[in-house]
Subunit: 327 residues, 2 copies
Amino acid sequence: MGSGLVARALVIGAAGMIGRKLVARLAKDGGVDELVLHDIVPPQPPAGARFKVRTVTSDLSAPREAEQLIAERPQLIFHLAAVVSGEAEADFDKGYRINLAGTWQLFEAIRRAGEGYRPRLVFTSSIAVFGAPFPEAIDDEFLSAPLTSYGTQKAIGELLLSDYSRRGFFDGIGLRLPTICVRPGKPNRAASGFFSGIIREPLAREEAVLPVPKTVRHWFASPRAAIGFLLHAATIDTARLGTRRNLSMPGISATVGEQIEALRKVAGESAVRLIREAPDATIQRIVEGWPRNFTPKRALELGFRADTSFEEIIRIHIEDELGSRRA
Amino acid sequence: MGSGLVARALVIGAAGMIGRKLVARLAKDGGVDELVLHDIVPPQPPAGARFKVRTVTSDLSAPREAEQLIAERPQLIFHLAAVVSGEAEADFDKGYRINLAGTWQLFEAIRRAGEGYRPRLVFTSSIAVFGAPFPEAIDDEFLSAPLTSYGTQKAIGELLLSDYSRRGFFDGIGLRLPTICVRPGKPNRAASGFFSGIIREPLAREEAVLPVPKTVRHWFASPRAAIGFLLHAATIDTARLGTRRNLSMPGISATVGEQIEALRKVAGESAVRLIREAPDATIQRIVEGWPRNFTPKRALELGFRADTSFEEIIRIHIEDELGSRRA
């Protein structure tokens, strides 16, 4: 985004991994006059921001919280907040309360603000809206038939976003993010954690566990690419989207074997030796229901850009997280 | 259904056109020991039922209504209740309250009943879950990208039904009904009303208005076929559905011109002359966003059977509604 494009932006889910990276990037690049950071745990204001930053800690699904959040009418809203896949599956009530009721309450609060208020709303959806059986590659017209509660909640968020946008209540765009890899820091409760772990841990000279066969194929984007998607979505001319406002983002399709080969090229055999195979039938079964490859034609035509290789994804992790010390 | 298959069945939306016909058919065929009829307006008990019938009039979306409805744990639930397309578009709040919140509350009430309660739930969805642009014929893997609030609410109902079924809270099946034709009685607020009107009114020797060109193609099933879908869904082995529990029902694809030709064959030129062309740009624009044709392979494999021709659809209307007096 250029500077001063937006007077006030709101990031919901600002304490999560994507939220923190988005906020850091906004602090670096500018483009907003005021940034409001929201999460259920206290979000960290970014270092070095040249604009006003305010933080709000509350439960989005609690009564009137959404109304309060949009009372100042931010022109740009990033709605990133979600209970992740593993937790939404383990805690049915919490997943639906946050991911469905929370999202719907936010959309309703915006609608009820009325009086010409029509912010741009960028929503992070997920490839979890798709469920097996799949074609070789999932195109832009493949059905959403999720096999998890998380995927169901995201698919419903997409439908609401489309309808509320069509009715003119906000100007929404939903991005189906690939699995983000390499996730920095500690594993979260997502069942997809090992896809990052087998890269992140060896680069930190720690052992990593691989619970699935090397033939498993999956769909990836770096955190840096994901932030690029969000910022592009914040400023794109949404008239170009037509009525279909939810887009599968581009990414890299790689097997676990190809991930490991890329790790070998970047960090050598000693890193690869830290991956220990420990088959886990439960995780294998879950992963079998996940997308492997996409042909995200619409997103590419609309200018969304992915990483160029899995090697690049590893190098980005080293640059952004390890201070280039393994590069 | 055979006799005595189900001790207690509940029909939600029993006062609507489909609800009344379903209840009449159950009264004729048997198969239940007790039938509970629910609607927001008082449902009519069927004539000649050889089983106990109870009626309940309440607003499904009101607090605790859903809990009360399932307190007696019906083993079979038909959830037919909905605000129709035209009204859901005109009254945004009402459409979401009944079609989304009401459906979700019903599903939650069933889940919270717990203790091994796992009824069969048959949900009427709609081809309105699909939105243009379309392929020549919509297959079983085409995306739900609705262009109306009604279609959005039905698509969300489908997603919830799949997830609640996957989690074992009930044994759900969703049926995407074609446009029901010929609808008996007065027009409702559905924008699709003219598809029935141009047959029903001439057969009653009244003038009918045609607001779209004769080249418009659409997807139809008779009320009798729709009742057949519901009863088949009530007893089908849902293990055969796998994880995808929402099915596009079979139907007849016909242009308005073909509808009129069928009317000519059945009722002669004098009937056709009662159709007055009165182009309506608003209705034309709405209809352009509607599905025209399907390849409902899964539903056919699962034994759902449609009408065989549009002529048959007209003859069914004459038999079932006009006492065969035009046959």
